[in-house]
């Protein structure tokens, strides 16, 4: 009998002990993977959103910084307005290359005149836009016309219909943007012309009319001249244009980054406690098992099995249990994170994008390795003690 078969016999022989070790390994691997997936997913998502916006500075009405961040990241509808003459004032600031105004709107909640309830809508100026238009030119080779829109990853035409209804207005969805894991995935983008047409027709088509205040915009995206420091330009905008706050893209979503750091610390504490407790529990279980099997292992030694053979069979047993538990833990965690990702985003108020297959594999392997290391570490001392015991004493006790 080789030591693998001996380990397997021992695993099936005491199912309670095996279940305890499997559950501990499952918990350690699952928790480690969940922490890593959520925090890395949130970080990637923030990075992708900043890249997608493509602006060096976003100018928003003073005091509306958090509202804008929540709208862009969590798709929380925001109704914020500032006079549109700020666009000219910002454009006159030295170092500003392009300024593009945007309107932030929202579809109605639970109304049959809107296909999707409370969807974040962004209207842009096609004459100055540098975020959606270049992407459109590349993707579909044309610009958006009246009544046309592009949507985030999760914006789609309802089953059995040809258009998306917004305030009773039929909008044709031309394309979907790549996922970012943020509110942008649930956002619809169309031109100023379409937004004004929806507002014009909404009193007759919708349950409630869409109101866009006259001569107002919600935000202005700024791209600075190459070689100019965006920080200097932001300071200059702050000094020269009253009633606005310029947000530099590296400083965007600062409150979310702080929240992520807090979450990382608390998760690491929980993971540390779980890991420590699991280690103690597995150590105890293996000590009990080693005591129970004292005579059996003594007989094995008396029949000619070496110390190394006994030690290896015990460690093999621990390794098999760790791999089973760790395997179930990582599969279950991956499945749960995929299924509940939107709920996680909502509960933690953090954006999230699922990692690439390669990155996921690395994290899964790391989770499994942690489970294997933990179980092997906890089982090492009892396994070493029992394998180095004198066979005659072991059989007599």
């Amino acid at each position: 009998m080789n030591f693998t078969r001996l380990a397997l016999r021992s695993i099936t022989g005491n199912s309670f002990r095996s279940w305890v070790v499997v559950l501990c390994a499952m918990l350690v691997a699952g928790l480690a993977l969940a922490t890593s997936l959520i925090l890395r997913g949130a970080e990637n998502s923030l990075r992708l959103t900043i890249d997608r916006l493509g602006a060096d500075i976003i100018v928003v009405p003073q005091g509306a910084e958090t509202k804008v961040e929540s709208a862009l990241l969590m798709s929380t509808p925001a109704s914020i307005w500032m006079p549109d003459n700020v666009v000219g004032e910002i454009a006159s600031v030295p170092g500003v290359a392009v300024v593009s105004p945007q309107l932030y709107l929202s579809s109605l909640e639970n109304a049959s005149c809107c296909s999707v309830s409370s969807m974040f809508l962004v209207a842009y100026d096609p004459a100055t836009d540098f975020t959606i238009e270049p992407w459109l030119e590349k993707k579909i080779g044309s610009r958006l016309s009246l009544g046309e829109a592009v949507g985030g990853m999760h914006v789609f035409v309802p089953l059995g219909e040809e258009n998306i209804k917004i305030y009773g207005y039929l909008i044709s969805l031309k394309a979907n943007l790549e996922p970012t894991g943020t509110g942008l995935d649930q956002t619809m983008f169309f031109t100023f012309e379409t937004a004004r047409d929806i507002a014009r027709l909404s009193p007759t088509l919708a349950v409630k009319p869409l109101e866009i205040p006259l001569n107002s915009i919600s935000a202005a995206l700024v791209r600075v001249t190459p070689g100019v420091d965006p920080h200097e330009v932001a300071l200059e905008i702050f000094r020269k244009v009253s009633g606005v706050t310029p947000l530099e893209s590296p400083n965007l979503f600062l409150s979310y980054r702080k929240q992520m750091t807090g979450l990382l610390h608390s998760n690491l504490i929980v993971l540390g406690i779980t890991w420590g407790l699991s280690l103690v529990l597995i150590g105890l279980v293996f000590s009990m098992a080693a005591n129970e099997r004292r005579r059996e292992l003594g007989v094995l030694r008396a029949l000619g099995a070496t110390r190394d053979f006994v030690l290896r069979s015990l460690l093999m047993e621990a390794g098999i249990l760790a791999l089973i538990g760790g395997g179930v833990g990582v599969v279950l965690t991956t499945f749960v994170v995929i299924l509940f990702r939107t709920r996680i985003i909502q509960s933690l108020s953090l954006p999230f994008i699922f990692p690439s297959i390669l990155s996921l594999l690395v994290q899964v392997v790391a989770g499994l390795a942690l489970a294997l290391l933990s179980v092997a570490l906890a089982a090492l001392v009892p396994a070493y003690r029992i394998s180095y015991q004198d066979p005659a004493n072991a059989m007599r006790e």
Partner: protein, 140 residues
Amino acid sequence: MNKIAGVLIIILALVIGILPQFTDCQSQGKELTLTTGKTVPMKCHWTAIAEIGMAVPLIAQGIMLFLSKRKETRLALSVTNIILGIFVVLFPTWLIGVCANNMMLCNNLMKPTLILCGALVIVIGLITFIMAYRKVESVA
């Protein structure tokens, strides 16, 4: 093992039957307002009702699995559990569906929970099937 599987099926059936009643849009006080002013329930409500129809036979299956002693009975129970598990998943995803906005509770909590529970019912069904099938084979 069959007793554990029976208890797990009963627990999952309770989740499948009860949770949707508290996570559909109707339970959150949300209804679809038509242009006529009339309100109607959203489709997630009908999924929640359909899942009661899945949960009741699953509870009976769980009890029978817990009490069954014959391998052939377990084999048959496992197959019906797998079929019921598939339908638990199909109602919120394909047959009826839930609301389109994934920020709604029915979309981000009810649907994934039903998929997870349905998948677990299928996995448990497969495990009990393999175990019963092996025992039937070894007896033959």
